[in-house]
C-alpha cells in the first residue's frame, strides 16, 4: 500500500481544501471527481445534440447559443457528441465513478489497493478532458470525422481540414484509455484482494462483479486500439503511412483495431449498468436475485464472445464477404447471454413486494427501454438485413436505445439510489419522479421517429437533407422536427434534476445509515462514509441478496449480521 495512506485510519487531521479535493487518494473523493467531470461533460454533450438537432429540424437558421451550424460545425458536433457521451460520460460515471465509490464500500475495505495510482488515473483523465475541449479552440476547429475516426479521412489534414483538431482528438482518447487502464487495475486487484473477511466469490454483489468484468474486458481489448491510435497519431503528425494505401498502408486495418475494442466497449459500459439495475430491483422488490451464479457465469461468457463479434460493424466495409457469415453467427449468439441477464432481472420481480421509488422506476425503465435496443440489434447482426440498415438512422436509433439506457437511465438509477450514501441526504422524491417522466417520455419521442426515418432510408451524418429528393419530403421533416422538439423538452427537464441534486445536497432530509433496509455492506457505513469508511471493518456472513428469507421477521438480512 502506498505510503501516503496511513496504516490506520483512526486518526485523521484536517486537510486543506486543495489537498482534500484535488490531491486526494480517497476512493470516494476520486469517485466524486469522476462523477462531477462526467456530469459536466454530459452537459456539453447534450448541448452539442441540441445544436445539431436544431440544424436538422430547422436547417440553415441561427441556433440560439451556437449560431449558424455550418457543415464543418455539424461534423464536429456529431463527432464530439458521440465521443463525449461514450468516453467522457458513460465511462467515467458508470465505470470510474461507481467503481471507485462502490467497490471498497461494497466489499468492506478502507480504500483501493493502489490509492496513488487511482489518483493518477483521475489526473490523467482530467488532462484528457482538457485536451479534448481545447480542440474546439484551435485553428481549423475540432475534429469532424465521426467518433469512429476512420482513416484516411482522420489521418490526413488535407482530407479532414482539421490539422490540429484531429491529432488532439486522438491524443485525448489515448490519454483517456490510459486513465481507465489504471483505474481498472485498481478495481480488479482491490476486489480480488481486499474483500471483508468471510466474503466469498459468490458473496460479492453483482454490481461489483460487473464492474470488475467490465474492467477485465476493457484491459484485454484496449491494447490493439492504443496501438492503432499511436499509428494514427504518427500518420497525422509525422507523415507515416500506416493507413495510407498509396504507401502500402491499409485504411481497413484501423477499422479492425477500432472495433476489436469498440464492440467489447459496449459491454464495458453495459455490464456496470446492468449491475446497478440488479442491485436496485432486489432492494425494492425485496427479493433474492433470480439466478446469481448462472448470471455471473453467462456474463463471463458474454465477455468472451464480445471479442469475436467486432466485424459486424464492417460487413459492407470491404472485408471478404465470406467472413460475414461467421460474424453473423457470433453476433446473434451474444444475444443469448444478454437475454439471460435481462430475463433473470425480470424473473426477480416475480413474487416480489415492489416499491416504485425513483431509483426503482429508473431501473425498471432501463429494462423496458433496453429491450427495444437489444432486439433491434438482431437486424444489424444479420448481414443480409444490415446491407440496408448500415449507417442509417436505424442504426443510430438502435444504439441510442442501448446507450441511453446505459449511460443516462442507469446513471440516474445509480445516482438516485446511492445519493443518500454519497451525500448523507435524501433527494426529493416528487421532483425525482417529475424528472423521470420528463426524461423517459421525450426519450421515446426522440428516437421512435428516428427508427422510422432509418427504415425509410435516411442516412447518417448529413447536415441537411434538402439535397436528397427522396428524403426531403415534408413528412420526413415533420418527424425531424418532432424529434428535436422532444429533445428540447428532455433537456429542459434536466434542470429539475440538477436543482434536485444540488439543493438536496445542502438542504435534503438527513439520511440514516440504511434508509432502504438493504443488505450490502455500503449501507452499514455512515452516510456519508468518513475517510477510511468504517471505524471497524465489517465481516461477511452471507450473500448480498438475502431478502424476505422465510422464518425471519425482518425482510432483509445484512451481509455483516452474524448468524
Amino acid at each position: 500500500m502506498a505510503e501516503s495512506v496511513p496504516a490506520t485510519h483512526d486518526e485523521h487531521h484536517e486537510q486543506s481544501f486543495l489537498i482534500k479535493y484535488l490531491w486526494s487518494t480517497d476512493h470516494k473523493i476520486i469517485g466524486m471527481q469522476y462523477l462531477f467531470t462526467g456530469m459536466f461533460m454530459a452537459l456539453i454533450g447534450g448541448f452539442f445534440a441540441y445544436a445539431f438537432r436544431m440544424q436538422l429540424a430547422f436547417p440553415g437558421t441561427d441556433i440560439p447559443g451556437w449560431g449558424l451550424v455550418t457543415p464543418p460545425d455539424y461534423n464536429a458536433l456529431v463527432t464530439n457528441h458521440g465521443t463525449i457521451m461514450i468516453f467522457w460520460v458513460a465511462m467515467p460515471v458508470l465505470v470510474a465513478a461507481l467503481g471507485n465509490f462502490l467497490i471498497p464500500l461494497m466489499i468492506g475495505c478502507d480504500d483501493m489497493v493502489f490509492p496513488r495510482l487511482n489518483r493518477l488515473s483521475f489526473q490523467v483523465f482530467f488532462l484528457s478532458t482538457v485536451v479534448l475541449l481545447s480542440s474546439f479552440f484551435v485553428p481549423g476547429g475540432a475534429f469532424g470525422g465521426a467518433w469512429t475516426a476512420y482513416p484516411p479521412l482522420s489521418a490526413q489534414a488535407a482530407y479532414n481540414l482539421t490539422p490540429w483538431g484531429a491529432p488532439l482528438w486522438v491524443l485525448a482518447v489515448a490519454l483517456e484509455f490510459v486513465a481507465f487502464l489504471m483505474g481498472g487495475i485498481n478495481f480488479i486487484t482491490t476486489t480480488m484482494n481486499s474483500r471483508a473477511p468471510g466474503m466469498k466469490m459468490h458473496d460479492i454483489p453483482l454490481v461489483v462483479w460487473m464492474i470488475v468484468l467490465a474492467s477485465i474486458i476493457f484491459m484485454l481489448s484496449v491494447g490493439p486500439l492504443v496501438a492503432g491510435a499511436v499509428m494514427l497519431f504518427f500518420d497525422q503528425v509525422l507523415g507515416t503511412g500506416f493507413y495510407d494505401p498509396a504507401r502500402g498502408g491499409d485504411p481497413v486495418l484501423w477499422q479492425h483495431l477500432f472495433w476489436f475494442f469498440g464492440h467489447p466497449e459496449v459491454y464495458v459500459v453495459l455490464l456496470p449498468a446492468m449491475g446497478v439495475v440488479i442491485e436496485i430491483i432486489t432492494v425494492f422488490a425485496r427479493k433474492k436475485f433470480f439466478g446469481y451464479t448462472p448470471v455471473l457465469y453467462t456474463t463471463f461468457a458474454a465477455g468472451v464472445i464480445s471479442f469475436t463479434v467486432w466485424a459486424h460493424h464492417q460487413f459492407i466495409a470491404g472485408i471478404d464477404p465470406r467472413m460475414a457469415h461467421i460474424f453473423t453467427v457470433t453476433t446473434l449468439l451474444i444475444s443469448v447471454p444478454i437475454a439471460l441477464i435481462v430475463f433473470c432481472s425480470i424473473a426477480t420481480l416475480y413474487g416480489g413486494a415492489i416499491r416504485f421509488t425513483t431509483p426503482m422506476l429508473w431501473a425498471l425503465a432501463f429494462i423496458f427501454e433496453f429491450l427495444l435496443g437489444g432486439v433491434t440489434g438482431i437486424y444489424l447482426g444479420a448481414a443480409g438485413a444490415d446491407i440496408y440498415f448500415h449507417d442509417s438512422y436505424f442504426v443510430l436509433a438502435h444504439f441510442h436505445y442501448t446507450f441511453f439506457p446505459i449511460g443516462i437511465i442507469a446513471t440516474f438509477a445509480a445516482l438516485t439510489y446511492w445519493f443518500p450514501k454519497m451525500f448523507g441526504r435524501h433527494l426529493n422524491e416528487t421532483l425525482g419522479k417529475i424528472h423521470f417522466v420528463g426524461t423517459i417520455i421525450p426519450f421515446n419521442v426522440i428516437f421512435i421517429p428516428l427508427f422510422i426515418l432509418g427504415l425509410a432510408g435516411q442516412h447518417r451524418r448529413i447536415y441537411n437533407f434538402e439535397l436528397f429528393p427522396d428524403l426531403a419530403k415534408p413528412e420526413f421533416q415533420d418527424l425531424r422536427v418532432l424529434a428535436t422538439v422532444a429533445l428540447l423538452i428532455m433537456l429542459i427537464f434536466q434542470v429539475v434534476f440538477l436543482y434536485n441534486f444540488f439543493s438536496s445536497m445542502i438542504r435534503g432530509r438527513k439520511a440514516e445509515k440504511n434508509p432502504y433496509e438493504a443488505n450490502t455492506l455500503e449501507w452499514t457505513a455512515e452516510s456519508p462514509p468518513p475517510h477510511g469508511n468504517w471505524s471497524e471493518l465489517p465481516s461477511v456472513y452471507r450473500g448480498p441478496y438475502e431478502y424476505s428469507v422465510p422464518g425471519r421477521k425482518a425482510d432483509f438480512w445484512p451481509q455483516n449480521e452474524p448468524t
Binding site: 482513416p151 446469481y292 459492407i316 444475444s335 433491434t376 425509410a456 439535397l467
Partner: protein, 236 residues
Amino acid sequence: MFEPFKVEALSTFAGDIDNVIIMITILVGFWFIVAQAALIGFCVLFRRRDGRKARYISGEKKSEMLWIAIPMALIVACDVYIALVDGPVWAKVKENLPEPDRIVRVIGQQWAWTFVHPGLDGKLDTPDDITTVGDLHVEVNKVYHFELTSRDVLHSFSIPVFRLKQDVIPGRKIVGWFEATGTGTYDIQCTEICGIGHGLMPARIEIETPEQHAAWMAERSQTLLASTTLPRAGQE
C-alpha cells in the same frame, strides 16, 4: 400514415432483404412482447401491499432454472433460424455475382460521385465511354456490375431502392452487382462520412426502359462526338 416512408424495392434482391427484415421482425417482436408483458405484468401483480411478504426464490434450483433455460434454448433456435435465412441472402447480394450484361465504373471523391458508363459499344475504356458526375443511368432488367474506387477517403455507395450498400476504399477496386426491376429516378447516397462535404454529394440513379436508355446514350454520344471532333475539325 406510413405511406410516405415506404421505400420501393426495385432490385432483384431487394425483396429478399425485405423478407429477412420481416422474418426478424416477427421473431424478435414475439420475444419483445413476451418480455415486456412479463415486466409490466410482474410490476402490476407484485406491487407492494400491506401484509404480503415477498417470496424467497433463488433461481438456482433445477425446476426454477427451467423457466430461464427453456426460453434461452428457444432464442438459440431463433438465432440459428435467422442465420440460416439470412446467409443465402447475403451470399446472393455480395458473394455470387451473376454474369454481367454491362459494367459501370463508380468513382467516389471529396465530394462527388463520378460514373463511367460504357457507350454504344457496350465496353468500358473505349472512346465512346460516357462519363457523368452525379447521375447514373442504367437500363431496367439488365445485370450490371459496378466497379467501386475512391480517389481520396472512404465513401459508401448506397442505393436505398436497391437495398444496396458497399463501402468504397482507396487503393482497392470492389466489384458488386445489381439488376433493376423497375424504372424511375431515385437517390444515391454516400453513407460513410467523408469530410465536410459529406452532406453535399447527393447523386441520382435513373433507371430507364431500353428505349429511354438508348435515347440517352444516343444523345450523349452525339455531344461526345461533337466535343471530340469539333476541335479537330477546327485545326484542319
